[in-house]
Symmetry: C2
Subunit: 235 residues, 2 copies
């Protein structure tokens, strides 16, 4: 039975890394001693080691050990044997490319579908969707394709941002970008604001956190859903 | 001799489409009667026809005719015979994908290198760089690769935005994204603020407009260059 947290962000403004989620993670990772961390997204280009140290520090607060997948000689086996998995944020293109390069996308998908607890934040959440076509990241690496884990039957836009009508900047709003997506693609997109997450348990997909989320469906006006909404009919 | 305007944006806040550039374009397109417009980037997913109408209206103010390349049966010939070319903004992935699909990337490159005047705004500027790896756009379509026209020996980041220290949003700043790019790529990137453009004339590449631009080179601290700076040593 699937057991997944898909979080918009690792960090909410003014708090430490993962701090806003720690109470939730204590419950989510109950019984788990060691979490396999996948540091491939490398935020700001930091090394796998540096990133893993940062994650270790955060998880030490709830007494979890962290092992970076990059230290394993056999990443496929590391995933299959993991008690739980965390894929952190950074650049989604770099992350997806590494998953293809190490040939671990399908084993990761199978393992999580079989029930190994999975936490994703930001880029680690983007890859839970059908494709990474709604990432906000810069395409700094060309991956073999844009198809992702498909753990949920829609796409994610983490760090969702409402249009700021006071801005004088003329770049497209997030909503315009997703509208452009729907000129070429049919799957729904969930705009997850920072502080929100989806909790996937078996066939259930529920919005969690204090904020509403914005749902974009092709040929429909975008709409808001409130926390605790069941989203498993969206596809 | 190359003759190119690479503009950050089509529109500066509070003014009409292309208005801030019209005086410049009057000079740039002097002697040109008809401009070939490439509407492939489709901002907000609008149709090629609708987009072309919008461009026609703007250029009618300086007495230029516009023909949309999508109305031509032979886009290669349309490019070769064009008096001048304008590639408008929208989604860079969609634009590049269409250029590959219609097999016109190389003829466009050759034609502009031979001297046909080229105006690019936003996505139409992104493709002037070596690759589109510094676009801000959502990757809503998977193009055959990220290589672009390479009319200049670096990459462009149009709509460049300075970090806003008052923001509580935790998504990466533009500077962080470009720093991530340089963890994997070596070419320089020019962050072009809205209202700025590069004027390429033969071997010369000069920053124009009222604002400075931000230059990002691998393993260097980013720095500002002032209007009228010659940038042809950057590579």
């Amino acid at each position: 039975m699937k057991n997944i947290i898909i979080a918009s962000t690792s960090t909410v403004h003014g708090t430490d890394y993962l701090e806003y989620l720690l109470d939730e993670l204590k419950v989510f990772f109950k019984g788990v001693k060691t979490i396999l961390f996948i540091p491939y997204a490398r935020p700001s280009g930091i090394s796998h080691d540096t990133y893993t140290e940062k994650v270790k520090e955060a998880f030490s607060k709830i007494n979890k050990n962290i092992i970076g997948i990059h230290t394993s000689n056999n990443p496929v086996l590391a995933i299959e044997k993991a008690e739980a998995i965390f894929v952190g944020g950074g650049n989604t293109f770099v992350l997806l490319n590494q998953l293809y390069k190490h040939k671990i996308l399908s084993v990761l998908k199978d393992t999580v579908n079989k029930g190994t607890p999975y936490l994703g934040t930001s880029a680690g959440s983007n890859i839970c969707g059908l494709t990474i076509k709604n990432t906000n990241d810069m395409p700094i690496i060309y991956p073999p394709n844009f198809n992702a884990l498909g753990l949920v039957p829609f796409n994610l836009n983490p760090h969702y941002l409402d249009p700021d009508t006071t801005l004088k900047h003329m770049g497209e709003t997030r909503e315009t970008r997703i509208k452009e997506f729907h000129a070429f693609n049919s799957q729904p997109v969930i705009g997850l604001r920072e502080g929100s997450w989806l909790f996937v348990k078996g066939d259930s997909i529920v919005l969690k956190g204090p904020l509403s989320a914005r749902i974009f469906e092709q040929n429909k006006t975008p709409y808001e859903v409130q926390p605790e909404t069941e989203l498993n009919t969206l596809k």
